[in-house]
Structures are given as C-alpha cells and as structure tokens.
C-alpha cells in the first residue's frame, strides 16, 4: 500500500490509497464529527455531520464516504461546513425527546446530581451518595437542612403526586456519612500556588475545598470568631445545629484548607497585602448589612436589623455575647426567610407577642411555605396588607409602629400584585422591638480598587468570576446581583474553583454551561406511575420547640428514606456521560429551540426483554439495525415507516429470536445516544 499525501485544515496528512477521509483524518489526529459511522458496519451517510469542503468541489462531501486522493485539499472547519453541521445538530436535537439530566439537577444552582445521589440513597449506599454530592457541594448535611431546594420545585414527581424530598434525603445521607466511614476526597499533589479567600461562608468554604483538592495552598480569612458565615450567624440553630456545621467545616479543613478567624480586612490586614502575597484572591464576603426601610423613627432604640439580630443571637447561643433585649412585643417587618428566622427566634427568646407585618398577602410571601407554617404553629401573628409608616417612640425608645393599610393593585413586572396604600387608613401596633427584615446589602470596607455596580456590588464576570483586578475573583453575595441563597453561592464557588485552577495553571478557561436536552412536559405521560405519598418529616411539637433552639426536624427512619428515594422517576439519561450525540452537540453553540416543532414521542419498550428501547431519543442513525444485520446477522431490528415518522422496531415471530438477542447487545454498544439501555 502506498502512502498518499493530503491537506486537512491546513495540516499535511497522510493516508493509505483508497482510505476514506473520515478514518484518515482520525489517524492524523483530527476528529471530524459523525454519529452514524462505525468501523464494524458499512458506510451509511445518514447523519450528515461529517461533511467537509474539498478544494475544487462545489458541493460539500461526506468524509465517511469520500476516498482520499493524492494532493486533496480538505477543510472540515469552514464556515459553510460548520453551518451545515450546526443546523444538522439543531435538527437532530429538535427531534430528540429526552432529558440529559433531570430537571432537579438543572434547577439546582450548584448543579448537584440529585438523581444520582437519590438513586444511591435508594440503594442504601450513603457513602456513594455523599461522594456524588461532594462533587459539587462540600456541605451537604448543612445545606440539606436549610436549602430552599429549587431541585424539588422542578421535580417531575410533583405531576404524579408530590416532589421527592430531595433535600431531606441529602441531609440524611450526609449525617450517616458523618457518623461512620466518612467520605474524604484525596487532594492532589501540591502545586505550590497560594490562594487567599476573604470570607468563610458557604461560597468561600466551597471554593477553598475544591481548590485545596486541586493541590493549591488555600487560606480562608474571616472577621468572625468561627467559620461558616451566614450559615452560622444568619441561620438559627433550630434549623441548622451548629455541631453539624462544625463537623463539615472541619472536613474542609482536613482537605488542607487553613482557616484564619477574627481577621477583618482593612483592620487586621490590608487587602493589598493579601492580594500581593497570593497567586489568586477570592472575595467571598456575605451581605451582612440589613437594608434600611427608610421609615421615620428608624434611629429609635428598639429598632434593629434582621441580620444583626440573628447574628447577635447566634453569638449568644455559642457563648460569645449577651442575648438581645427585645421585650414582650416584637414586630418583624418583611415576608422573606430572614423575617421568618427572626420572628421564630424572637419567640424562642421569650417574646409574648410576635407579629410579622407584610405589605402584601400570604400568597405573595417570598418565604418558604414550610417556614411560614412552622412560624404560625409557634404562635407568630401575621398582619398582612400592612406597611410600617412610622416607628413611634418616647424619649428615644420605641413604643409603637404606625401601620399604613394596603390593598393589592395591578400585577407588576414579576407578576405579583403590587400593594397600594389605602389613603388615610392607618393602624397603630404597640411594640418594644422592631426587626427590619426586608433585605440585606454588602459592606466592602477595607477592600479597595474594585469596580462596583449600581447596587454597590462587585462587578465580576459571569463566566470567569474575574474582577477588574487581575488575579482577584469574586463570588457569592458580594457580586453582581447581590445576596442570594446559599446553594447559589456554592454553585458559583464550585465553578469559580475550576476557572481559578485553570488560571493558576496558566490558561484561564471560563465556565460554559453545557447544552443539554430537555423534555417538554406536555410530552410526558405521568398517568403510568402509581401514586405514592411523599415522606413527611417528623418534627418536634410547636409547644415544645418554641422554647429552645434545638433542631425542629427529627431524623427520618432509614426505611422511609429508602422508600422516598425510590419514588424518583429517574428523568435523567443513563447514557449522559457516554452520549456521543450530546458531546457532538456541545462542539458548536447550537439553538435547537429555533426549530421547535413536532417531536416523535414514544413510550419506552422492553420487547427485547434485556434491552429497554426509547425511540423518543432515537436519532435514526440505524447503527443498531445495521449491526444487528451485518455483524450479529440476526436482523431482529428494522426500520418501520418512512420519513419523519420512521421508527426502529424489533420484529420477530418466535421466542427463539428473543433468546438469541439476550446474549448479544451489540446494538446497545453502538447506539450513539441513550435510545437503547441494557437491563441488568
């Protein structure tokens, strides 16, 4: 065989006489995307992804079926080729009805593999579950207790009866893991790079953990006496026992992270000093300042900020300060989770009448419904459609709150009906303490030289987390949109760790969300599932729990946990990590939504006994059919119908063929996507 020379993408390449371009390119180290080609079967030419431009040929040619000729000049990456490839992928994806990952995972800001760990939990493998969780989130026992769980909001099980209790399952697995055989990832060899993180809250700790695992020397600085940030000082102990948090923070320390507490930037050490002595610096401070309501009388003694109040109670609970004096009548202004934490904490401090004043109604409250219910159980009085107009005091001391009566008007941009003042209609509520819990903001004292946005938050690139100073990154509450939930800060921290690791290795790669396939809800038939109630989490009674800061929730029993986990519909695809289709679809930026139209939706079938077939995901590359014919010589699978409605189906008239099928599985092996699944 003589070697012939050709040019591919400007590179000089060699091929055997008679060799096809696709294989020849591969041998020369250039991958031309394709999905319907396989060395064991004849060339087919269906997917149209391997098209290339050949000099002197006006048409695009398929690399799979074009023989290399001497001196041929080929390009597989021209605009025209890429356009054809992009459209082909968009068309393929527009008729691919499958979920790469479950909606739970997609809706988790940290992208935790909920389906993966729920499955491990269903099988009783809590260690494996924690291993899966800790790929994205190093504080599962803590977060599992306090997360408002966006995962559950998108859980498809809700269309059967109610979502899986994902957060509680996570907390259970993490607790078990803390008790025995605790999972500990092994850090990589030391890189000699130094990373400083300002702020030891969920964001800072997460970034510290993942960077330490990469072998970098990480130091976390925090102004408070202990690590944990808002998890420790913003969230009451009855929701998150501090012992749990301590245990998880210790594990992060065990991974090699150095903690420096009671260090306030600008007071104890300058920002420049930290920055200049580190290869990378991350600002991960929290939003510690309660927002002002701009109401007359705010300066009165007895008016406090929600975050300040919670912090003081936390310090007091850990023996580091006095309890705040709040009197008998406490009024909390606001309807969010901080308001709920504040009112329930006030109850626990012994206040006799705790009221929450909210300018809309219960339906519009941003707080979690569970929190509202638990507050109600604990005796908190809700006063809806009321807004503080003035804090009234005597001799500098608060005595009452003047409330403006409101009514709901037209819906605003967010769809919520906005409250409108009823003119001249006021009420007075006597009060010893007012807690303002309407929001929180940042305090960057001591951190200089960065660019801030109009909200006063640090401007950080959404994909690289880089700030206006080279080598300084910012994540979590401190950036762009400001304060958010812990899991969102953790997600940013995890993604930032990867970016910063690449930065430390000399080639910064920004984060890019992968393109994934998602099913349309109206294509799913939920009637096929049997209903099974969601586990209810046992709680201490309101009468008892309102008197102390011990955990409200009691531990679930293991049987209940496993059976809850088994409710999972397993929406995500078994083949996601190996799927050639989705890998190819991520080679180019694609927008299949442009071609939204009819999808071929089928039920999964198990006529082949040991193989589950899901034609909704099939891309008709026919590799299974061809392999069954040409390699296995069984011809059990065939194409049925024509055009857009073509489907692949098995056809047999006796049981022998099914048996013959059982020990082959070649079709499953060649399927480039998750249409075929081998049943164990």
């Amino acid at each position: 065989m003589s070697k012939i020379k050709f040019t591919l993408n400007g590179k000089e390449c060699f091929a055997e006489e008679g060799e096809f371009l696709l294989g020849a390119a591969q041998k020369n180290g250039i991958e031309i995307p394709n999905l319907c080609n396989h060395p064991s079967v004849k060339i087919y030419g269906a997917c149209g992804l391997c098209t290339v431009e050949v000099a002197g040929v006006p048409k695009l040619l398929r690399a799979c079926s074009t023989k290399v000729t001497d001196g041929m000049v080929v390009n597989s990456e021209t605009d025209r080729v890429k356009h054809s490839r992009k459209v082909a992928l968009e068309l393929l994806m527009s008729d691919h009805d499958g979920d790469c990952v479950g909606p739970c995972s997609l809706n988790c800001p940290a992208g935790t593999d909920c389906q993966g760990y729920v499955k491990a939990i269903a099988g009783g493998d809590y260690h494996r579950a924690v291993e899966i969780i800790k790929d994205k989130l190093p504080l599962p026992a803590s977060i599992g207790r306090i997360c408002p769980h966006p995962c559950e909001k998108k859980c498809r099980r809700q269309y059967v009866e109610s979502p899986i209790s994902i957060a509680a399952l996570k907390a259970f697995a993490a607790d078990r893991d803390l008790e025995e055989n605790t999972y500990a990832a092994v850090p990589a060899e030391s890189t000699g790079k130094k990373v400083s993180i300002i702020g030891g809250g969920p964001a800072g700790l997460t970034a510290a953990y993942y960077l330490a695992l990469k072998g970098h020397a990480v130091t976390v600085y925090d102004a408070m006496p202990k690590m944990g940030g808002m998890l420790r000082y913003g969230i009451p102990a009855y929701r998150l026992p501090k012992s749990v948090l301590d245990a998880e923070i210790k594990l992060i320390g065990d991974a090699g992270v150095e903690y420096k507490n009671n260090v306030k930037i600008g007071r104890d050490v300058s920002f420049e000093e930290i920055k200049d002595s580190s290869d990378a610096t991350i600002i991960a401070v929290g939003a510690w300042k309660s927002s002002s309501m701009r109401v007359a009388g705010e300066e009165l003694d007895g008016v406090v900020g929600g975050i300040d109040f919670l912090r003081q109670v936390s310090l007091y609970n850990s023996g580091e300060g006095d309890a705040p004096v709040i009197g008998d009548r406490v009024v909390i202004c606001g309807g969010g989770n901080t308001a709920m934490d504040a009112c329930r904490t006030a109850v626990r401090l012994g206040a006799k009448e705790v009221s929450v004043v909210y300018r809309r109604t219960r339906a519009e409250m941003p707080a979690e419904i569970e929190e509202i219910e638990e507050a109600e159980e604990e005796g908190v009085i809700f006063r809806f459609l009321r807004n503080p107009a003035e804090f009234v005091g005597e001799n500098g001391k608060l005595t009452a709150v003047k409330l403006q009566v409101m009514e709901l008007g037209e819906p605003d941009a967010s769809g919520r009906r906005s409250p409108v003042a009823v003119e001249g209609c006021f009420e007075t509520l006597e009060a010893d303490t007012v807690i303002e819990a309407i929001g929180q903001s940042l305090d960057f004292t001591g951190i200089n030289g960065l660019e801030y946005n109009r909200r006063g938050n640090i401007v950080a690139d959404e994909a690289s987390f880089a700030t206006s100073i080279e080598g300084v990154f910012a994540i979590g509450d401190a950036t762009n949109r400001g304060a958010g939930i812990a899991i969102a800060a953790i997600g940013e921290a995890n993604r930032a760790a990867a970016v910063i690791d690449s930065f430390l290795n000399g080639q910064m790669v920004s984060y890019k969300a992968p393109f994934v396939s998602e099913r349309r809800l109206d294509n799913i038939d939920f009637s096929v599932y049997n209903k099974k109630d969601r586990v209810s989490i046992p709680k201490r009674s309101a009468e008892i729990r309102r008197n102390d800061f011990d955990a409200v929730n009691l531990e679930l029993c293991e049987d209940a946990v496993k059976s809850e986990a088994a409710r999972c519909l397993e929406c995500g695809c078994h083949d996601y990590s190996d799927c050639r289709l989705i890998k190819t679809a991520n080679l180019l930026p694609i927008e299949p939504a442009r071609f939204d139209g009819k999808k071929n939706v089928h039920k999964t079938e198990q006529r082949l006994v040991s193989i589950e077939r899901n034609n909704s995901k099939c891309i008709l590359c026919s590799l299974c059919v061809r392999t069954c014919n040409e390699v296995a010589k069984k011809s059990i699978l065939g194409l049925v119908g024509r055009g857009f409605d073509t489907v692949i189906k098995p056809e047999f008239h006796n049981d022998e063929i099914i048996v013959g099928c059982r020990d082959c599985h070649l079709c499953v092996d060649v399927c480039p996507t998750g249409a075929l699944k081998l049943l164990k």
Partner: protein, 164 residues
C-alpha cells in the same frame, strides 16, 4: 400489532406466489403486491408467512412494506376515494376538496371510516391534470370537482348503501 392480528387468514393462497418467485432476486415488493391483491391488505400473519418463505427477516419484510404507500395494513373501505394532490389539482383547489372530505367523512389521509364504507387516500398525481381537481372513487375519475359536487357524490353513495 394491529387490531386485525387475531384474524386467521388462509395462507395457502400465497403458495402460488411463492412458487412463481422462488429463488428470484429482489422479488419481495412484487410478492407483497400480489399478496395484497389477494387479501386486500397485508395482515400480520401474511407478512410473517412471506418472511418465512422468502428467507427475509420479519423486520426486513415489515420495513419494506411500511416504506411504500401502496401497502395497507388494515382492510380498505368499500369505496376507496383517492384525492389527487398533484400540482395542477393543487393550483385548481384540491386543498378545499381535502378539507371537505375530512369534514364529510371524518377521516384523514390513509384512514377508513368506522363503518368500513370509505377509505381516503391522498395520491401524488392521477395523471388527469386537465380535469383538475380530480378525485377517483374505486378507479373512476371525477373531474373539475368542487366541495358542493363532492358532498352530493358522497351523499348519493351513502343513500345507495342505506337502501341495500
């Protein structure tokens, strides 16, 4: 499996066809055509029998049969209405005829009415372009059709069937 799966057909009627094409390369489509001439459609057991006798896999036989529009897998109605969807007929209003046929019969392309009276097929071109738009009922062409003429035609057939 279609709803006729449980009907037992006399498969010996296929024997002369198998004899005629025994060993002949590429005769599957012809065999399917002749089988359909016998049974009026291609029931499952007939397809299975053809696969067995021709040495083709059942999957291949079904694959071929479902590729071509000529083959039916359910019995045809007593009156087969073919609506020409050729270009000339389109330009002259075939779409309006399609709409009225759907309304009059309650069936679409490739379907048969529940009473088994009518089957409707949209066909590419009947080759009577000068008479467009055209429909054909059991092989007889009706040219220059309008929705009004069509409803009279269908009503006449229904009335005739009612008398019998």
């Amino acid at each position: 499996m279609n709803k006729n799966a449980n009907i037992q057909n006399d498969l010996t009627m296929l024997d002369p066809i198998f004899e005629r094409y025994a060993g002949q390369f590429g005769s599957l489509i012809t065999i399917l055509q002749e089988a359909q001439d016998i049974y009026g459609y291609l029931p499952d057991d007939v397809l299975a029998c053809i696969a067995e006798h021709t040495g083709n896999s059942p999957a291949h036989v079904r694959g071929v049969a479902t590729f071509y529009t000529q083959f039916r897998f359910t019995p045809a109605g007593k009156y087969l209405i073919q609506l020409c969807k050729g270009t000339a007929c389109h330009v002259n209003g075939a779409e309006r005829l399609a709409t009225s046929l759907r309304e009059l019969l309650g069936i679409g392309d490739g379907e048969t009415t529940e009473d088994g009276l009518f089957s409707l097929n949209f066909v590419a071109c009947l080759g009577c372009c000068s008479l467009s738009p055209v429909i054909m009922i059991n092989g007889e062409a009706y040219g220059s059709m309008t929705p009004a003429k069509l409803s009279v035609l269908i009503a006449d057939i229904k009335a005739k069937e009612l008398q019998n």
